[in-house]
């Protein structure tokens, strides 16, 4: 199981989808699960809203298949009641009473356990169902587009979250089963970051938090990285405002531009700002590397991300060694 988190807006949904594709590159079945009710996967794939149902959304060259599921606490509860208690009608009554709203409102831990429960059920599922515990796994990998770093610890630590509420009983048993999968050493929590201070800080805090819970940290995906446009040694000079104006003006003149002197001054400022940003990005990258997690870098794509772009991102991941 692959759990993808990161600061909001860093590209969790995008990276989770690209990762699902990368994991399906050598064939096999991969499930991509979203848990925040935002229909981010449907938006990304340009398809109508996903139902609470595992649907194939992408066939990968090479025979792999990617399925997607928009997990929803209410539907998960209904399924759970029916599966374990044969209580469909009661479930419907609960919905009418607003019991699910209630659970999500007052005890988000209950909602989390339903959502993680659905995802971990997909992880454990085997061909031939529960009667054949030795059957092969239904999915070769499950990728979860998880809540942001600010909530990830609480979200994944469903066990202790509900333990405060339910020390014994059915919820507790369910939570224990979920936790077993989340803690398993075949589960990894990946972090998506940008080369900016706040997302990187959240990543470092998240890694510490997840590690302290005894979960396994996977990779740090550095998303939306921009190639530096300046040759290496020019950077620090430019950042310090020591760009060689004369040489720049000569270059502009050689390129046939008017006003080379004025233009050089104007561009030198742009270059200085760019250089300072690149140096900051280097510092941030070094801090991220300092966490010990492997870094995987994805470029900033002009014009946003569509299906084709996703394929490109998946390939970049594969090239950097991401595979099942």
């Amino acid at each position: 199981m692959h759990i993808v988190t990161g600061k909001g807006g860093t590209g969790k949904t995008t990276v989770a989808a690209a990762l699902a594709r990368a994991l399906a590159a050598d064939g096999g079945r991969v499930l991509l699960v979203e848990v925040e009710g935002r229909q981010g996967i449907a938006t990304l794939f340009g398809s109508p809203p996903l139902p609470y149902e595992e649907r194939e959304i992408d066939a990968v060259p090479g025979g792999g298949r990617v399925f997607a599921l928009a997990a929803d606490a209410e539907a998960a509860l209904m399924e759970y009641l029916e599966l374990f208690y044969g209580m469909r009608r009661a479930g419907q009554a609960l919905t009418r009473l607003g019991a699910v709203d209630f659970a999500t409102t007052i005890a988000p831990g209950l909602r989390d356990v339903l959502l993680t429960g659905k995802a971990t059920e997909a992880v454990r599922r085997r061909e031939g169902g529960r009667r054949r515990p030795e059957g092969r796994f239904h999915y070769d990998a499950v990728v979860m587009d998880a809540p942001p770093t600010g909530r990830i610890g609480r979200f994944l630590n469903v066990n202790s979250e509900v333990a405060g509420l339910a020390r014994v009983g059915p919820i507790r048993n369910h939570a224990d089963r979920v936790m077993e999968v989340i803690r398993s050493d075949r589960t990894r929590v990946h972090f998506v970051s940008l080369l900016e201070e706040m997302p990187a800080q959240e990543t470092r805090n998240g890694i510490a938090e997840v590690g302290a819970l005894g979960l396994h940290v996977g990779m740090v995906v550095v998303n939306m990285a921009r190639p530096p446009l300046l040759p290496g040694d020019a950077l620090s000079d430019a950042a310090a405002g020591r760009a060689d104006l004369g040489e720049l003006a000569a270059g502009l003149k050689a390129a046939g531009l008017d006003d080379a002197g004025d233009l050089a001054e104007s561009l030198a400022e742009e270059v200085g700002a760019h250089a300072r940003r690149v140096l900051l990005e280097r510092r941030v990258r070094a801090e991220l590397a300092g966490t010990g997690a492997p870094l995987v870098e994805l470029p900033l794509l002009e014009g946003g991300v569509d299906r084709a772009a996703l394929e490109g991102l998946a390939r970049r991941m594969a090239e950097q060694g991401v595979r099942r």
């Binding site: 807006g9 009418r96 009473l97 209630f102 007052i106 059915p170 706040m198 390129a255």
Partner: protein, 376 residues
Amino acid sequence: MSAGRLDVDALLDDPATRIVVCCGAGGVGKTTTAAALGLRAAERGRNAVVITVDPARRLAQSMGLDSLDNTPSLVPLPEGTPGSMHAMMLDMKRTFDEVVEEHADPERARQILGNPFYQTLSTSFSGTQEYMAMEKLGQLRQSGEWDLIVVDTPPSRSALDFLDAPKRLGRFLDGRLVKFLSAPAPSGAFKLLGAGVGLVTSVLGKILGAQLLNDLRAFVAAFDTVFGGFQERAERTYRLLQAPGTAFVVVAVPEADALREASYFMRRLATDAMPLAGLVVNRTHPLPAGAGARLDAGAATAAAEALEAAGSHPGASAALRLHADLVRTHLRERGLRERTVSAHPGVRVAEVPALPEDVHDLEGLRGIGAALARGA
């Protein structure tokens, strides 16, 4: 269509302006904008307080907010500053506890504060932070100690959450399930549900377990008695937001998602009769001053290619490529901004350029404040 300029100084200088609320999608610069506005107001003679929710650590330190004490503390400003600036970081649990203590007798307050459901409600109900930010705003306004309150809003899923959270909490606590739990005897309402009360109780018992159900009942019963007070306060704060002394500043970055959210928010403010001061487009990429402003992307790229073909002046060709990139970004951002503005005729806009580095000291905030005041 081009937009009017948001005149931040006029807004801050007007003594009738008593509350400025900074809102927008996550990560766009709400906290930074709120702090910069507070600082600028102080430097222009106001006695301002900034309620922040989640300042980056270094920014918090620069405002003297090392500890989370839930009360405003004075931000040390240079001598001779005509006004003053206080800042506080919201502790939502503490704020919630205080409201409970104010509205319940000590025994009941103790019951509520010790109930496990209250503990999740007060720390992780999606909306508590928003609700408590508004609660704090109401408190500070009532204290009358400041003539300007600048509010930073929480990093919500949606920029609207802080308007809706108090009502959502209210709706929830008024909901049928809560009524059912607080009065478990069979009542008419539940016959309509087509499931017997016995069945519902048994399901709840099965899923939740008996202990949980009891905790829940105890919580609901105790909380019900203080809830009227909560709702009243929420309504009062809501009306405060509609009052003429309040100004909303919607913050966005020049990206489609953030501007869409900003648009949505501006429409909502109009619907709710809440006064919009203007839109801040943060982290923009303006063209450089001077001759660079006249060199378009095509010409810059062609010139870079010429140099590369000749194999000379690599520094200049890199600078030209960088410039072409900047011009393209600038045009894209301008297009996005114009689209938003044309959907909201009359909206006033201020642009703040993206700084190469983060904003984490008073000097940085001052720079943001100056950019805000320059406007578009």
